[in-house]
């Protein structure tokens, strides 16, 4: 059973929303129903997120990401369609039952941190448990543990304003971790941070995920971030899903020009792995080649492939040779794939990105 299931979700703001849904379900673009005076934020979105997966929703500003994620925990009711959490249709729940479900199953991390400025870091982290009525001593202990986990053990009694942006978002993360829900929603959680700090936070999230095995729905407008974090990525454009796939699928088989133009800016060497660029090594004598793991990013192979004479051997855990990575293989994989359509002109692309 998927942890999260979105089933033909629509969210249209405005009085004549249901009329708009009918039109949109026939495939009309949202700009063609402007005369209805509605904003179609999310249009016919369906996906499933498996337990333990990091599912990234990627799209430009205004593509409906925040609206979508807020429907997943019922902060916004969908205009049409259903959301299932562990098999429960949350759109059919009463307000009270929905609140209980949020408290137990889904927590959220916000773009601008959304910490409570009048509560200490520890009290912020303990909030979810406080809402659930957990006794004071226990919730403080668990919040302290989560703060230790994100490296803020020494800042418990400070107020959020006294912390830097990166640290504040760690508190936001600790607040979600303390609530101890299986699902965490993250709406552009790292977008407001400086690039270096953002990288640290991404690394930390990947590590935490490896330890705790949460189901994470992560929203971003940055494809590099999506590629780095996501087990699978859902690309949104103007409220509709353009493509859902693994980072490599998106990179190597973009669904259309739009996705292809995005992928141009991606550092392919960090997304592609040894396994995805290797060539068959059938019959070759790989005994004294250097060994690499299949999921090593290509970026980490440059140095090694350059410093030895032969190719690198990609081996599994039993040291069986799966394939060979040669400098030529790397170079040709780094070039954009043939079926990915190149962008027409640089100027137009930048304009698109700004919109």
């Amino acid at each position: 059973m998927p942890a999260v299931r979105a089933n033909h979700l629509y969210k249209v703001f405005g009085k004549r929303a249901s009329q708009a849904v009918t039109l949109l379900s026939d495939g009309r673009h949202r700009d063609t129903i402007k005369d209805l005076d509605v904003t179609a934020a999310v249009i016919d979105v369906s996906f499933e997120v498996q337990p333990g997966e990091i599912f990234v929703v990627m799209g430009l500003s205004g593509s409906g990401k925040s609206t979508l994620i807020r429907m997943l925990n019922g902060l916004l009711p969908p205009t049409s369609g259903t959301v299932e959490i562990d098999g429960t249709d949350i759109t059919a729940l009463s307000r009270r039952a929905l609140r209980a479900l949020r408290g137990e199953k889904i927590s959220m991390v916000f773009q601008h941190f959304a910490l409570f400025p009048h509560r200490s870091v520890l009290e912020n982290a303990a909030y979810g448990l406080e809402v659930r009525g957990v006794a004071r001593a226990e919730r403080r202990e668990r919040a302290a543990h989560a703060l230790d986990l994100v490296g803020l053990g020494d800042w418990k009694d400070h107020l959020p304003q006294q912390l830097s942006g990166g640290m504040q978002q760690r508190v936001g993360l600790a607040r979600a971790l303390t609530a101890d829900t299986d699902i965490i929603l993250m709406d552009e959680a790292f977008s407001a941070l400086d690039p270096l700090i953002r990288r640290d936070m991404q690394t930390q999230l990947i590590q935490l995920q490896a330890e705790l095995g949460k189901t994470i729905v992560f929203i971003t407008h940055d494809l590099n971030e999506a590629m780095r974090l996501g087990d699978r990525i859902c690309v949104l454009r103007d409220g509709r899903v353009v493509q859902i796939g693994t980072p490599e699928e998106i990179l190597n088989h973009p669904a259309d020009d739009y996705v292809a133009r995005f992928t141009e800016d991606v550092d392919r060497s960090r997304v592609l792995t040894a396994a995805s660029v290797m060539e068959p090594a059938a019959g070759a004598d790989a005994a004294d080649w250097e060994r690499v793991e299949p999921d090593a990013p290509v970026a980490e192979l440059f140095q090694r492939v350059a410093s030895c004479d032969g190719p690198l051997a990609v081996v599994d855990e039993q040291d069986r040779v799966l394939g060979a990575v040669s400098p030529t293989a790397i170079l040709s994989a780094l070039a954009a794939p043939e079926d990915a359509v190149p962008a027409p002109a640089g100027g137009e692309r930048r304009e698109e990105a700004r919109r």
């Binding site: 807020r70 925990n73 902060l75 009270r96 609140r99 209980a100 479900l101 949020r102 408290g103 137990e104 889904i106 927590s107 959220m108 916000f110 773009q111 601008h112 959304a114 910490l115 409570f116 400025p117 009048h118 909030y127 979810g128 809402v131 659930r132 607040r175 609530a179 929603l185």
Partner: protein, 413 residues
């Protein structure tokens, strides 16, 4: 042609208003009487406390402050103490139970108190207060919560009692108005603690001036009236402001009503106020409440509406019910704006006191009004100066509270 009605016809607006008032008074006279009695009692009690503070009242006040500060951290013992003390106060008021207890206790237990306060009998209310205060301080000490505050409050209480003893018994005759001086020192200490030494010094000097121009009792009567009126105004404004923040419809309906309340010449309120509550402090308070309330509503609404949407969402996302979001997130974060509203309410209330003086509300307004009617410039001026001093004192004090409140206007995007 001459039979045609003139256009526009005369609209009986004023008559309608009168009729409505009469209808209200005949059908709900009891309600108005009760409300009036409560207001009257509050103003009188507060005025008496401010003009002549009793050690028992000071002690009860200190205990109340401690209880409020500690109740969240240690609810069970604190509420037990407060409940017991309240029961004892009630028993004392109803059957003089405290007196019986005190009279049967070993006398030397209370001799020190009799000596300290120069009385020939022990005030049972004072004993109850001291026991409650000590119990609360003990709770704080045992659990080590909010010790600095507890120290400050008990220390301040001791200082006030000592001060009273000094003024009344140790150096009798030196201070012309010992009760006024005691209250003045208490207000100064409050200003110092809340707003810093500048306001402390200002209070010391300015309030001494009020004493020396012999307007102290009037100033305290006015202060009591303004505080009660402001309290009522805030109690009404807060829920209205919350409703307006939650519902655009309520907000739209309230807006013109508030505009009307604020721009209608304040004198106009006096007529129905007297009609409902007869002369005295009560119509003054009621007219002041109506006139001073609008900024309280407006700024409460603004304070809640301007909170970063994401922060409220965060509460919802963790499953907090609406009431917990209101009391735990929205009201605390709106507090600085709400306090700005309270500040305006108090200022508007003060500006009403002279008008309220016309209906016999007493206090400084009365002095000014007498100055006008007797053509006594000196009296009017002294009354006016005292109003100004009160205004500055209250303004700076509430502004300081507003500054201390947490800010929630983080970046929105």
């Amino acid at each position: 042609m001459s039979q045609l009605l003139p256009f526009p016809p005369r609209l009986p607006l004023g008559e309608g208003f009168e009729a409505l008032n009469t209808w209200l008074k005949t059908h709900f006279g009891g309600v108005f009487d009760t409300v009036g009695a409560v207001i009257d009692w509050s103003v009188t009690t507060l005025r008496d406390f401010l003009t002549d503070p009793q050690a028992a009242q000071l002690t009860a006040l200190a205990a109340l402050v401690l209880a409020a500060a500690l109740v969240r951290a240690r609810p069970v013992p604190v509420l037990t103490v407060v409940g017991t003390a309240t029961a004892l106060y009630v028993a004392q008021a109803a059957f003089a139970l405290g007196n019986t207890l005190v009279n049967h206790a070993p006398p030397h237990l209370f001799l020190w108190a009799m000596h300290l306060f120069g009385q020939d009998s022990v005030d049972a209310n004072l004993v109850i207060g001291i026991v409650a205060l000590a119990a609360l301080a003990a709770v704080a000490a045992v659990h080590r919560v909010r010790l600095p505050l507890v120290g400050a409050v008990t220390g301040g209480w001791l200082a006030a009692i000592l001060c009273g003893w000094l003024l009344f018994d140790a150096v009798p005759g030196v201070i012309a108005q010992p009760t006024a001086t005691l209250t003045m020192l208490l207000l100064t200490a409050l200003a110092w603690a809340v707003a810093g030494w500048r306001l402390g010094v200002f209070s010391l000097v300015a309030l001494t001036v009020v004493i020396s121009i012999e307007q102290w009792d009037n100033a305290m009567a006015t202060l009591a009236l303004v505080l009660v009126a402001s309290l009522i105004a805030v109690l009404v404004a807060l829920p209205l402001g919350v409703l307006a923040a939650y519902s655009t419809v309520v907000s739209r309906v309230l807006k013109p009503v508030l505009d009307l309340m604020q721009t209608m010449p304040a004198f106009v309120y006096l007529i129905p106020a007297i009609f409902f509550f007869s002369l005295g402090a009560v119509p003054g308070v009621v007219a002041t409440v109506v006139f001073a309330m609008p900024p309280g509503v407006r700024l409460t609404e603004l304070g809640i509406r301007q909170i970063d949407r994401e922060i409220v969402e965060a509460g919802e996302a963790f499953g907090a019910p609406p009431l917990k979001i209101l009391t735990g997130i929205q009201l605390p974060l709106a507090l600085s704006t709400v306090m700005a509203g309270v500040n305006q309410v108090i200022m508007l209330g003060l500006s009403m006191v002279v008008i309220a003086g016309m209906v016999g509300a007493g206090g400084l307004g009365n002095q000014v009004y007498q100055g006008i009617s007797r053509n006594d410039g000196a009296l009017g001026f002294e009354g006016g100066i005292a109003v100004v001093i009160l205004a500055i004192f209250l303004d700076r004090l509430t502004a300081a509270v507003a500054r201390r409140a947490p800010q929630a206007r983080t970046a929105t995007a």
